[in-house]
Amino acid sequence: MHARKVLSTPEDQGVGVVAALEALGSSLGPVTRLVHGTTVVTNLLLERTGARVVLCATAGATDLLELRRQDRASLYDLSVQHPAPLVAAADVIAVDERRGVRGVERALTDAQVELVMRAVLALRPEVVVISFLHAYADDAHERRLAQALREASPDLTVVVATAVLPEIREYERTATAVAEGYARPGVGRYLDRLGERLRRAGFPAPAVMTSGGGMRNAADAAQHAASLALSGPAGGVVGAAAVLRAAGIADALTIDIGGTSADAGLILAGEPLVEPGGSVAGVPIALPRVLVETVSAGGGSIAWVDEGGALRVGPRSAGARPGPVAFGRGGTEPTVTDAQVVLGRIGSGGWSGGVALDREAAHAAVARLAARLGATVERTAAAVVRAADAEMARALRRVSVDRGVDPRDCALVGFGGGGPLHACALADALAMRTVLVPPFAGVLSAVGLAIAPERREAAASLLVRTAALDSHAFRAACDALAARVSGHERRWQVRVRYEGQGHELEVAAAPGDSGREIADRFEQTHRTLYGFTLPRAVECVALRHVASDPGARAAFRRDPLGPPFDARGLVDRGGPAPGDVLRGPLAVTLPDATLWVAEGWTARALAIGGWRLDRDTP
């Protein structure tokens, strides 16, 4: 395996992609498959540079995007505003139609379609999104208006909300569909340009990573822009899952630690946990995504003393520039990385791009903080690292305990620039006994891209009591979804709840299952998660289908290891041999990160590259 990191090119990320491929140069053989992870959708939403969208909504419910869920942006700071909706109030068109729970209450007339079309076209939008109440149960009105608009104006991009997310809850569905419309033209243009650039350089068309950890070909991805919004952190978890499988471990928590934040994830039975939900820049995107909890704690997080006299770490970060004091790029405030340097856990050289470390400057910065706290430099440095660890441990607990998973039954995969440094302490905080540090820990998300399966999804609303669902009807529902997407491996997930509950649990199902079987599986999961079941009807809410073709088979082998050094003496001992055993406390320089083997831990170099660390039995 070869890895290259190049600087990003914000004006057009595609330039950087081609530069990276060229940097790999002759080490590449002929390229048959090219996969791409991109933050282009995230950036469109953050920078508010998407398309002009007109929204057609049921009359009487045209302000859903402004009303949100009615809770305020901050509980105690009363002046904080939610981010403005992606559609201006003047660009929302009321459509006189209404479906109720029992059927159509107000039909959509031809005259109304005509009227709405004229109103839409008069606004000259790039995109129109159609989202009607209860359309998850019956999308006839949405489709009818869409067809009329497409016929009248073939260049107009028309997005039907239930085609993006066919699920109950009008705000989340509408907001997700609007995000899709907002991002779609920009994503299309970006992927076109990238495809063209790659073609000229002799590479195949790219596949693109989705928030759900799968791959879509470029044409398909351009039509599912919202499904790319949270793909960034997904790649790392998918990569971690592949390394886990290679190492023969089934369940794990993952922690991806960068400069300003850390992402926690969960892998069960070798698969990243995929759940609906999540948001970007205040825009909810209720599509399936690889579960990731982000906290503002990373290597660049700044340590400070608050007015209550307490040592605090983050959320402010020194970022890449000026970065930690030790990097000598103008940083003056002590960061988590500086504390690690003081503790002797980060060696010079080998560190992310071979930055020479200014130990004295780091020490002086932490010493200034220590003086304010009346503590020694070493104790202060240790406390800074512990405070960052506490935030990250909280994220790890959230992804596991909230889902009924006991961290003690899991391994911890630590990656990103800081993951291998913090992994032992995080494992100790959660009473976990095994840590895995993957090969290429600093660029694991790229590994995830390379091996992610080609994966297509289809979903439908399935509002029915399990008692009324026989195996034939369920098979028919599964088959209908299967006909929409192709792939070798097929899986079905049903979202199920007690009638009246607002939160659904996802349970696996197969065509031909009976409602009874689905209900049993649901009750089992409910008991595991919440410790109780109810004498109450169980209902299905939605059916989701994933069809995938296996991704590239990953063949891991050992990566070249830098010389390890003793934690205290920093004595060069030469490179470890395969199967070498190192006892903590000790730091190991990796090609793109530093591994800290804490006291009480033993590290073994793995045949697949990377390291496995085990807690010594007390």
């Binding site: 402004e66 009303l67 305020r72 209550g308 307490a310 441990a393 909280r394 607002g502 939160h503 109810l534």
Partner: protein, 515 residues
């Protein structure tokens, strides 16, 4: 008593550890609960107390629960709890707020027969019996009309459930199945809290945990006092009124004198109305919660939520005051509407003292309850937030003591015989100003079956006031088929009737710029 300061190097680590447990409780509660009011709107709070009954952490959902939970734990500690007992209570005279808030408290076992601490889950149930569906009656004059009153009673004795008590409770409410489900979710959330606290105890020992609690509470107190010290010497008075007590339309006057002395906040409510016949009275713990919320909003967001913040607050109220209600007063609306008015009153007093605070927000929760054969539906509506020196007031949000979410139209219509005809921003209802006040909300409900509607609303006559020269927000309006309804009322409805609420706008801030 010698007190060890918690090492400042470890404060944030510990703060994070205990907050995490309360968060996990909240997550289990909202995921497991059945009623929209708890699962969608999150009208609930979770907290963790130490063995001495001090609140160590609370998951932030609803400000009105903020300062009120310690009283509930105090009531349980007065009932000779044993380790493993699980209590349920709602009596405002014994730790409760108003009857729909059922508070479950587990006396956490330390594994050796002792009590290690308390896990507390308060959730607003959609019905607890009484004269009106939804148990938020209009016109009640004594507590027993408002629902089943529970002093601290044991749902479980040393871990053994008492099915007869549960049956008794469920026999006295209109929607027993839903209550059973919500109580099961509360129980699961308590267990998560108990487990988390026991794990800390096992790892660190009781003595260390007590030291840590001291340190965390002292720290929060220091942060609160730091802010108050900056306001040293501030004094201000304010007056306001509720628009009737639910029985009569007559104003219920409120008055406060505020002063900041020696790093403490002194609030004297002399001049406030005595207890009234209707149900806008509130127990003193609700008054305390409102004071705590106002102080909290002056503090940085990151100050941990524990009992330490409350220490520098000193409240005095006359003996017969409606803000320190006693038996047998009715209180259902006190928790929701009086609490809002107290926050308005306190912000006004801070403004009079020269402290930079936002203009008044909608100042009401717009409580609306529908009840028919076998169903009840309760929700509250957002409105305009007041503008401030920093910017315009947010539109269509909950202000002050509430922060519940809306009920999705599609969920609501599937669960109840109601249709939402209109749900919209009430344009132009925010007060004018250099910074405009936030706009209110319009929500119109058409009923499909005969049922009753009960309204407990405010700011229908007295508009939310602007600040620093800004204009007032628009008053709220209640309509039945286009005809005005009183602020607090109950009506029988027939299929096809439409009830519409237009919620108040927030006050503007600063003199409007000339066009």
């Amino acid at each position: 008593m010698s007190r060890h300061d918690l090492d400042p190097l470890e404060l944030s680590v510990w703060s994070s550890l205990v907050a995490m447990i309360a968060e996990e409780m909240g997550s289990v509660l909202t995921r497991g609960a059945l009623s929209p009011n708890i699962r969608e709107r999150r009208d609930a709070s979770c907290a963790l107390f130490d063995s001495g009954g001090r609140m160590v952490a609370q998951a932030a959902h609803i400000p009105v629960h903020l300062g009120a939970l310690p009283e509930a734990v105090r009531a349980v500690r007065g009932s000779t709890p044993r380790a493993g007992d699980v209590f349920l209570l709602n009596s405002p005279w014994q730790g409760g707020s108003h009857l729909p808030d059922l508070t479950m408290i587990e006396a956490i076992s330390d594994g050796a027969g002792g009590i290690a601490g308390y896990a507390v889950v308060r959730a607003h149930h959609a019905d607890v019996g009484g004269m009106s569906p939804g148990s938020m009656p209009q016109g009640a004059t004594e507590l027993v009309q408002e629902g089943l009153v529970l002093p601290p009673v044991r749902l479980e004795r040393v871990g053994v459930p008492d099915p007869e008590l549960l049956a008794l409770i469920l026999a006295n409410v209109r929607t027993p199945d839903e209550r059973r489900g919500d109580l099961a979710a509360q129980r699961a959330a308590c267990e998560v809290g108990a487990r988390g606290w026991r794990a800390l105890l096992a790892q660190h020992g009781a003595a260390r945990l007590a030291e840590v609690t001291d340190g965390l509470l002292d720290y929060a107190e220091r942060r609160a006092r730091a802010r108050l010290t900056a306001l040293e010497g501030a004094t201000g008075t304010a007056e306001d009124a509720l628009e009737g007590d639910g029985v009569s339309e007559q104003d219920v006057p409120l008055s406060v004198a505020l002063s900041v002395r020696s790093g403490a906040l002194h609030l004297d409510f002399t001049g406030t109305s005595p207890m009234v016949r209707g149900n806008v009275n509130c127990p003193i713990q609700v008054t305390r919660a409102a004071a705590l919320f106002v102080l909290r909003s002056l503090l940085p967001e990151d100050v941990p939520t524990n009992e330490g913040i409350a220490r520098p607050i000193h409240i005095s109220a006359p003996d017969d005051c409606c803000l320190a209600a006693r038996a047998p007063a009715a209180v259902a609306a006190g928790n929701v509407e009086m609490s809002q008015r107290i926050t308005d009153l306190l912000f006004a007093a801070f403004a009079a003292a020269g402290v930079d605070v936002p203009a008044q927000g909608q100042g009401t929760m717009n409580n609306i309850t529908f009840g028919g054969a076998g169903w009840t539906f309760y929700e509250t509506l957002g409105g305009g937030q007041g503008a401030s020196a920093k910017g315009p007031g947010p539109d269509a949000v909950h202000v002050g003591m509430s922060n519940t979410r809306n009920t999705p139209i599609e969920s609501l219509e599937r669960a109840y015989p109601l249709v939402i005809e209109r749900y919209a921003v009430r344009r132009g209802s925010g007060g004018a100003g250099r910074h405009r006040g936030g706009d209110g909300v319009v929500r119109a409900y058409r009923v499909l079956e005969p049922c009753t509607v009960t309204l407990l609303t405010e700011r229908r006559r007295r508009a939310p006031r602007g600040a620093a020269g800004g204009g007032d927000g628009a008053c709220g309006e209640n309509l039945l088929n286009g005809e005005p309804l009183p602020a607090k009322c109950r009506r029988e409805l027939q299929p096809g009737d439409v009830v519409e609420l237009r919620t108040p706008g927030g006050g503007g801030w600063g003199v409007p710029a000339r066009a």
